[in-house]
Symmetry: C2
Subunit: 424 residues, 2 copies
């Protein structure tokens, strides 16, 4: 256990190598799957002008921001999410890229929340977005990417579900049931809280619209066939991809944020014991808003955080096995062990040759007992120990897993190890 006297700020995390290994595993899965889908990586500044988030939200700023004045008296904010920066950057340079843009990002976000399980003040998000394509083909591509990330982590349709909804269904419902246009936002907010609010409290809020909770329950539980042409088109595409088992239409999902315009979705563990693993949807108006109307691009995207997925992996044996295989310490291929101190120059020369050839090599930095050197080799997870003694250039190659040992020369070593390195 780390010494608590030397802790980071509350809600922030240290990643010593053991913790970093999990982070690197999550990143590698996200990156690998995104690249398979032909997404290109991008990154935003960590700090943005607060005005950008004001523009994005239409004036209503989230309260939980790391917001401050810099030394030049600018009102600045540590990014709470990436979509605002994405809209700004896409507006700035979209002309240089083939449309649609398929972009992904992996990086830190900051929110001043009460730290608890799955909620941190600095957390990492994987963001994937498609800009410049209005058709459902883009939404299906994005959903398929989200599903394949989950599959790559080792999850199956028994472990998670993608709940897909369509805000346009609710806009139509509101119009047909006499909700005044200026109050549609409030109406959506009631739906957003529908599952979490006590029924009586929910009905109280619905009274203002002259609506009955039972009617809404029935509508959500049995949505009329064909109510969302968007969903039907996406479902068709996911069937063709063999991914239909992972999604369901669930109109109780609306997503809190005002800027979503069409299909929205959230991924949950099947038991729904945790917060959403991922969420996103269509935001066709946002790039236009952020660019003051200069650039208009339909867009759809989602974000997946690192905290909830880590809990979910821990709870799923298949996902845990994949993770644990990736976490085994293996910081080097070869640990050189010096049995004859006078051979140190030869050992250093051998280390250089091996490293130049791409082999990951550790070596004793100061004189140490053989036993301690071998212990270190085990502890850092080296595949081989190479023991260098007075009979150099003859060396002993020891496989630390099988305990097999053979005598060889530097040339023989290179042949043996480079074969290995190429396979890795």
């Amino acid at each position: 256990m780390p010494d608590a006297r030397f802790s980071p700020l509350p809600g922030f995390r240290d990643f010593a190598p053991q913790e970093y290994a999990l982070r690197a595993y999550l990143f590698s899965v996200w990156r690998r799957v995104a690249q398979r889908y032909g997404f290109a990586e991008w990154e935003a500044p960590t700090l943005e002008s607060t005005e950008l988030y004001l523009k994005k939200s239409g004036g209503e700023l989230p309260t939980q921001l790391f917001r401050f004045q810099d030394q030049g008296e600018r009102d600045v904010t540590l990014r709470p999410e990436l979509t605002a920066s994405l809209g700004r950057i896409a507006a700035a340079c979209q002309r240089e890229y083939a449309k649609p843009l398929k972009w992904f990002e992996i990086g830190s976000c900051f929110r001043y929340e009460k730290p608890q399980k799955g909620r941190l003040r600095e957390f990492v998000q994987f963001n994937a977005d498609i800009l410049g394509e209005a058709s459902e083909g883009a939404d299906a591509e994005l959903l398929a990417l989200a599903i394949d990330c989950m599959r790559e982590f080792g999850f199956t349709a028994q472990d998670f579900v993608v709940r897909v909804s369509d805000r346009e269904v609710w806009l139509r419902y509101a119009a047909e049931h006499g909700v005044p246009e200026e109050r549609v936002g409030d109406f959506l907010a009631v739906i957003d809280k529908f599952e979490r609010d006590r029924p009586e409290y929910c009905q109280e809020k619905l009274d203002a619209f002259g609506l009955r909770r039972e009617d809404l329950v029935a509508f959500i539980q049995n949505p009329p066939a064909g109510c969302s042409a968007h969903f039907d088109r996406v479902y068709e595409e996911l069937c063709a991809r063999g991914l239909e088992d992972y999604v369901q239409l669930d109109l109780s999902v609306v997503r809190g944020l005002a800027y979503y315009t069409g299909l929205v979705f959230e991924i949950f563990d099947k038991g729904h014991t945790l917060r959403a693993v991922a969420g996103g949807g269509r935001y066709d108006g946002l790039v236009g808003t952020l660019s003051g109307g200069a650039v208009d691009m339909p867009a759809t995207g989602f974000a997946m955080g690192d905290a909830v997925i880590a809990h979910l992996i821990e709870a799923c044996p298949a996902a845990r096995a994949l993770r644990d295989a990736a976490l085994r310490p293996h910081s080097c291929d070869v640990c050189l062990v010096l049995a004859a101190p006078e051979m140190r120059p030869q050992m250093l020369a051998l280390a250089s040759v091996l490293r130049d050839a791409g082999v990951r090599v550790d070596l004793p930095l100061a004189p140490a007992k053989m036993g301690n050197q071998l212990k270190r080799a085990e502890k850092i997870g080296a595949t081989y120990a190479v023991i260098i003694g007075a009979e150099y250039p003859e060396v002993e190659l020891k496989n630390l897993a099988t305990r097999e040992s053979a005598h060889t020369t530097p040339d023989g070593l290179m042949t043996e190890l480079l074969g290995e390195a190429d396979e890795a």
Copy 2:
């Protein structure tokens, strides 16, 4: 050119995919070489308690900080460098790792400086440190890593030099020339500015110590043989590694910061036209200071920033060629082209099969003309186009570089592409 209306804050950078590619290239070189040296990756929080930096510097805080109060009224600072966090984290969890710790980190740092060439407000540093080993073997290992990073970028001994110095030489010089102990820090500050100050101004400052500038010039230009046993030991180890051409003893280097204790070094381009590419040295007392004496660990480390190295690469043809080869757009292996719209489900199914096998695939998200689809394939740098028409499952495989084209089936495609993917 990006549209200037949508710029980031001054001194901050956007990394759209074209800019991100350079960033990814720098990261991959740093990571690859560090791993070859058996270094393990770690990461710190972006935000730390300001107290941590106060402790580190012994009370004198740098003025150019992004420092503010958070919503809980904590005095916090966006990290200006990584060594303070490293000391804190190593003190917290060193018991869990084999000594010495060989750790590296790649991440953003923040300084409120006037933005100019090679100076940014958010920049990336590569940090490498060895903790828990006091001998020169550790300094040599670290210098070798720094040199090999430069070599991996394509630089030779004609392009850069590592100027190595030893603070202990100056401490001895001060003692022998009657500099009072409490004024040694001021004396080191004069040496630190020696090259940049006008000679008259430098002499004025030296008057206070009763020293003559000419004597110091002579001492720096012809350091007495054996004046630094530390340097001699390190040089010996670098000779054994075949890296002696890259280093020289240069006592004019002292490094500004107060916490360095022994060997220090800086890497410069040979023409010395830019700021230091990298700098570092031994800081044996810092972990003890940061942990209030609870954990004492000798340490040595260096940092290399992304801005100066990027300029240096641009100025060196060999390094530029390596970079450009890495920057070629190749966001996917295969771009599917749909010639017969009714075959869309078949195309989507094929995309899933290919992606599940690890092939990077792009596809049309909405109906588009053949010509436009092929143009996109070229623009995103796909290796192949696969044309799917009415005669499916027969498809056309088109190599976009050679323009060669062949007819095959999905099975044939898999064989062809997986061979390719394995080689990549």
